[in-house]
Symmetry: C2
Subunit: 492 residues, 2 copies
């Protein structure tokens, strides 16, 4: 079989790439670090996007669209943000190509078409958006401004991986403006909760909510809130971030509003985003050595029906039953496909849909017709059983709900059994080496210690969990006094 997948135990990283490529989610492209999102992968993204978009709208946000390009002078305006992204940005310098006289059919940059000011391809849109908000905000009546954008962004990463880290990726970025710091912080936390809700209830992936340390903070933020998930190899993955930006961007772009007492003040800001990176998290968290395992709520296809027959006459009898079943499933809102393609055999189809992570497979042949049964197989547990056709649509709908929960529970159990509390540096190292996962340890609160630990172990502080209890302790690395435990892990 050409679609063989490397097993997780052989090479986790190759297993991941195999799933993404052979599962039909994405492909490499001719552009360094950029990928093609294939139709099956894009359909998954559409389901994720639509669910998120509804959650954004339900919390009062509207969509808009801002330019792809950020003029260099705007890009520079918020110093920390500029510094953070300058190292990895694509820069447009010219607006025309012309025939290259040295080579027939070739083009070259036209030196006469040099831009007066270079344009940065947005790595994130705070600068261009806050430069626009300046014109939209005068008074407290214009606030809050609750805008989201679905867009592509470019960060010139040197080491890229499909979905997890690509030079161009798709994401949404919310950018809100508020009259008070409290309102902005509330918004930041609200959107973190929206992300956690989405990742847990749609992607079936448990997350830990927390705050980043200064080292890991978004460039230009006062505080970065995050959700962290755990992959099957024991590494963590940052699944979404929500930033309280204080008045940093308002000051950089001079965005003031007059309050009810007619007093001028700078506007308070948030921004928050999740990206196609989530697809990478989804693949790594749930799938197995046979292929993808997709949670039903976002799976492009929830049910596939495969007929097993010889000849037209048998096919016609199966068709009759199946077309009725398809109709009933669609009426229940189930995404179902009847794969009666004659070019491939049932066994090939079974393997193909297993690879693609379709949650439920229904197979039926002549014997089933006679017994009024079908074979029902679930992808996550690989359980198969023969069940009656009576009440089958409802049974399948219920099974989809059950599978969604089972996938979450499995991931939760794995995650919970991979949070280890350690009290010594030896324990820290042995846990990291033997088991991976999150390590809960006292930290003295300094960047110096954080950097030293990263240097020695590649583990970083993933977050300071929200509502973390303050306790007296001793830093696991420096031995200095510490006020709380934080979560360390190696991460994607």
């Amino acid at each position: 079989m050409s679609k063989e997948i490397t097993s997780r135990s052989t090479d986790y990283s190759q297993w991941y790439n195999d799933l993404v490529i052979k599962g039909g989610l994405a492909d490499y492209s001719a552009v360094r670090g950029c990928m093609v999102i294939k139709p099956y992968g894009f359909s998954l993204w559409e389901n994720m996007r639509d669910a998120l978009d509804k959650m954004f709208k339900d919390t009062g946000h509207v969509n808009a669209y801002f330019p792809l390009f950020v003029p260099k002078s705007l890009f520079e305006a918020e110093e920390k943000n500029a510094e953070g992204f300058a190292k990895e940005c694509a820069v447009v310098t010219h607006y025309r190509l012309k025939a290259d006289p040295s080579k027939k059919g070739a083009l070259m940059v036209d030196p006469e078409a040099k831009l007066e000011e270079e344009l940065v391809v947005r790595p994130t849109s705070e600068a261009i958006i806050w430069n626009t908000y300046k014109n939209w905000i005068q008074s407290y009546r214009d606030l809050p401004l609750l805008i989201n954008q679905w867009a592509n962004v470019v960060r010139w990463e040197m080491r890229t991986r499909l979905f997890l880290r690509t030079a161009e990726f798709l994401w949404q970025e919310g950018h809100t403006a508020h009259a008070t710091a409290k309102e902005a912080v509330d918004e930041t936390v609200q959107m973190l909760n929206v992300y956690a809700d989405f990742v847990e209830n749609w992607m079936a992936l448990p997350v830990i909510k927390g705050i980043k340390t200064e080292n890991e903070r978004f460039a230009g933020a006062v505080d970065t809130y995050c959700i962290e998930a755990l992959m099957q190899d024991g590494k963590a993955l940052q699944a979404g971030t929500s930033h309280f930006l204080g008045q940093n961007f308002a000051k950089a772009f001079d965005v003031k509003f007059s309050d009810k007492e007619n007093k001028l003040d700078y506007v308070w800001a948030t921004s928050w985003g999740v990206s196609t990176r989530l697809i990478g998290a989804l693949v790594m968290a749930h799938s197995d050595d046979e292929g993808l395992i997709l949670p039903p709520k976002i799976a492009p296809l929830q049910v596939v029906i495969v007929p097993i027959y010889k000849g037209e006459e048998q096919k016609a009898r199966i068709d009759e039953k199946v077309l009725e079943l398809v109709k009933q499933l669609k009426a229940l809102g189930v995404r179902v496909k009847y794969d009666d393609n004659d070019n491939s055999r049932p066994g090939w189809k079974f393997a193909e849909y297993e690879m693609k992570g379709v949650p439920v497979r229904v197979a039926l042949g002549l014997r089933d017709l006679e017994n009024n049964t079908v074979e029902l197989a679930r992808r996550d547990t690989k359980e198969k059983q023969s069940v009656s056709m009576d009440g089958l649509p409802e049974r399948i709908a219920a099974l989809l709900t059950e599978i969604q929960q089972a996938i979450f529970n499995k991931a939760l159990e794995y995650r919970n059994s991979h949070i280890t509390t350690v009290n010594s540096w030896d324990e820290f190292l042995s846990t990291l080496n033997d088991k991976g996962g999150f390590i809960s340890a006292f930290w003295d609160g300094t960047s110096e210690t954080e950097n030293a630990i990263k240097e020695k172990t590649k583990a970083t502080i993933r977050c300071i969990p929200l509502d973390n209890p303050l306790e007296e302790g001793v830093c696991v690395f420096s031995g200095k006094p510490a006020k709380q435990r934080v979560l360390f892990a190696q991460a994607y």
Copy 2:
């Protein structure tokens, strides 16, 4: 009132800009030629996009996503396409900025981060997509490949106008691959029909379907099919194009497939697109001197309800009625807003929603409550009437359908009365000057004549209508023999 709009008769062009800006559809940006699509405008685009997306999927297409950048060597590969777009493309040459030592806080392009190969920001994606299709297509079993992409593209236009011509715009581009020329032509025509269906039945804008002359053909196409609409100033606007690309791109990128007899042949291609330009067409075709007029099927808001009251007690009584009405309208799928914002007066609201083109306005005060009536006003005809609250939701739903049809009929009547058949050059000129619109005239079939007419009058051949009858005639300009009439017009 700060929102006054220039009238069409005073300055049509300024009227258009006023509507776009003051109607809340878009705003200028800090980036030359790029615009910001504001939330109200974006909501309109979302409705258009969702309707189109469903039509694409219903005709068997799936979405995917390809990189924003096209490496120069791929961009060059299809010679005509490259030549057509080289003059107006944004080029990324560097991947990093660094601190500018000559100015504190400033950044400069890092000369050490020069790309080995320049990247063109996609002006259209044939090159990057066909370079990918090469890996996806081996056999006739891989065909047809029916893929669409929603994306941003960049064309460095020198003279830009909001929505109509911007350096960056949003669009969809379909790119399909087929085993035979006939199949590809059928697809080209099918998608033209999808566009015509959408523009007529959703945007309420009648179109003429036709084929472009060689002069106006898409760079790299064998044939460009188009739909042409007419604006209120008598100018035409190309509302969508569908291209039969022959084997041009398959040859440029060496994409071959083996047919059922195992014979290798180049793949046949189509591409087709519509863009945010359609919003410009929508604004110019239907609106009036008071503001936008939006067809109900795509209007972000279909009904607005404005209460007229003094004091809390009256408000409470109105609220009770309105909240019930809102619930009933929503149950019918109507997009409705109850604007009970206390900060602005009813008169201001009336003007605001008129400006924004909300199709139906419901107003009610205490007298109405007593009489069990509301005031129902339609935006397109400005008719107002007092109607009973009994059966009101159904009445409003029916009215929305009626308005959709009325807007289309009005545009159709205007369009039909602005197609003038002329038989002499004098008639051609006087029609163009006095009346505008489409001019149906014999043309000798040469680019020479087409160019000369364009030079003298700025009128171009908008299209050769589909199923145009062949008749003997004399070219309106050259006096040479002609085989058919074509449609001329000045155009956006």
